[in-house]
Amino acid sequence: MSDQDTGAEREVTLHYYDGSERKALIVDTEVPYPDGKLIVSRTDPQGFITHANQAFVDMSGYSREELIGANHNILRHPDMPAVAFKGLWDTVQSGQKWQGFVKNLRKDGKYYWVKATVIPNIRQGKLVGYTSVRRKPSRSKILESEALYATLK
């Protein structure tokens, strides 16, 4: 459990890269990543979700129907600095694999940390989307990331 895990609740307005925004409840309570599971999702080239596995449904708190067609930034937690996602997009759009530690926002406002890997899906030389696979991070990497992201906001 992190020092940030106070259980406090607040409502924030999340601003997205495309200019859109939404109000979200933020609850400072961590949901532990389940042992042995991988969260798998795929998006189209614009970042809209086209595939979600059961672990993704379970951890995000959204139904599969709510996830499919939603922008992947539905998971974006306000504690994540924009620069981290810029790095992600710059990397995958140049055709490379991106890996990093991400604090994700659940539908109920709670959060979970993941070690995420995103790769571009190339078919016959063309980009058709992205695959993102998340796995359980170590506690030390979470603490490191919390400290780093706090300086980048």
Binding site: K97, T117, V133, R139, S140
Partner: protein, 248 residues
């Protein structure tokens, strides 16, 4: 010249005869000569694959990546309800209660099976362990892994879930599962190379209908496979993309 068929060396020794029955059944159905070559090591098999000596293979998902993306193979079918999962096991009386109890220098008993080793290493990451911070001891079988744990030569072992389930009650009773993977989307597949591509449709139809074939049923039983389901190119590519995310 006969076509060459091989099976990923991670098959259970008990099923070895099943693969020979399968090959005999397939040759009769397709009316072609197929030679089955089984290998003891992944290295030797990969050398022969790269040398163009393999036309059809029941491959693990890691090798499927190389076969499809580099060598022009195509997945025909995958076994029904058979996914590749791994467990990390310890001796039943081990003081280790969770993965997070492990530290640098942990002695890991593993096999050369790239599937199980990769999944096992991912499950050690929550303890900040990687290939550089563990001591790997590579064994030829899951039984030898169990033995090394019970003799105190190693701390944790990586075992294919199916192989763990097939260990005797006596051995399993002296082991404990620390963590089990629940990945669900990684599996073996039967692939054909360029030399057999002209038989692709016929092979897929034959294998999908295999459980309805009088002799086919018994062959499937001997391999402990319930049946086959077709794999689309996109399903294969999806699995390969997923594997790519797991390999650093």
């Amino acid at each position: 010249m006969p076509h060459n068929f091989t099976v990923s060396p991670d098959f259970a020794p008990d099923h070895m005869s099943g693969w020979f029955y399968f090959n005999t059944w397939l040759q009769r159905k397709l009316g072609v000569d197929i030679h089955l070559e089984l290998y003891d090591t992944f290295e030797q098999q990969r050398m022969d694959i790269r040398a163009g000596k393999v036309d059809m293979i029941y491959a693990n998902p890691y090798d499927a990546s190389m076969l499809v993306r580099e060598l022009g193979f195509k997945a025909v079918v995958r076994p029904v309800s058979k996914r590749d999962e791994a467990v990390i096991v310890v001796a039943a009386d081990s003081p280790i209660a969770t993965v997070e109890d492990l530290g640098a220098g942990t002695r890991v008993a593993t096999t050369a099976d790239p599937d199980v080793d990769t999944i096992g290493m991912i499950m050690l990451e929550p303890a900040d362990l990687d290939a550089a911070s563990v001591q790997k001891h590579v064994y030829n079988s899951h039984v030898l892994i169990a033995k090394s744990l019970l003799n105190g030569e190693t701390d944790v072992g990586f075992v294919l879930k199916q192989s763990y389930d097939e260990l005797s009650d006596l051995i399993r009773g002296r082991l404990r599962v620390l963590v089990a993977s629940q990945i669900s989307v990684v599996h073996h597949a039967l692939l054909v190379g360029p030399a057999m591509m002209d038989r692709f449709d016929e092979l897929r139809d034959l294998l999908v209908a295999m459980p309805k074939d009088e002799k086919g049923v018994g062959v499937l039983e001997s391999m402990e496979i319930r049946g086959w389901e077709p794999m689309s190119e996109e399903q294969t590519e999806f699995m390969i993309d997923l594997i790519d995310t797991l390999i650093d």
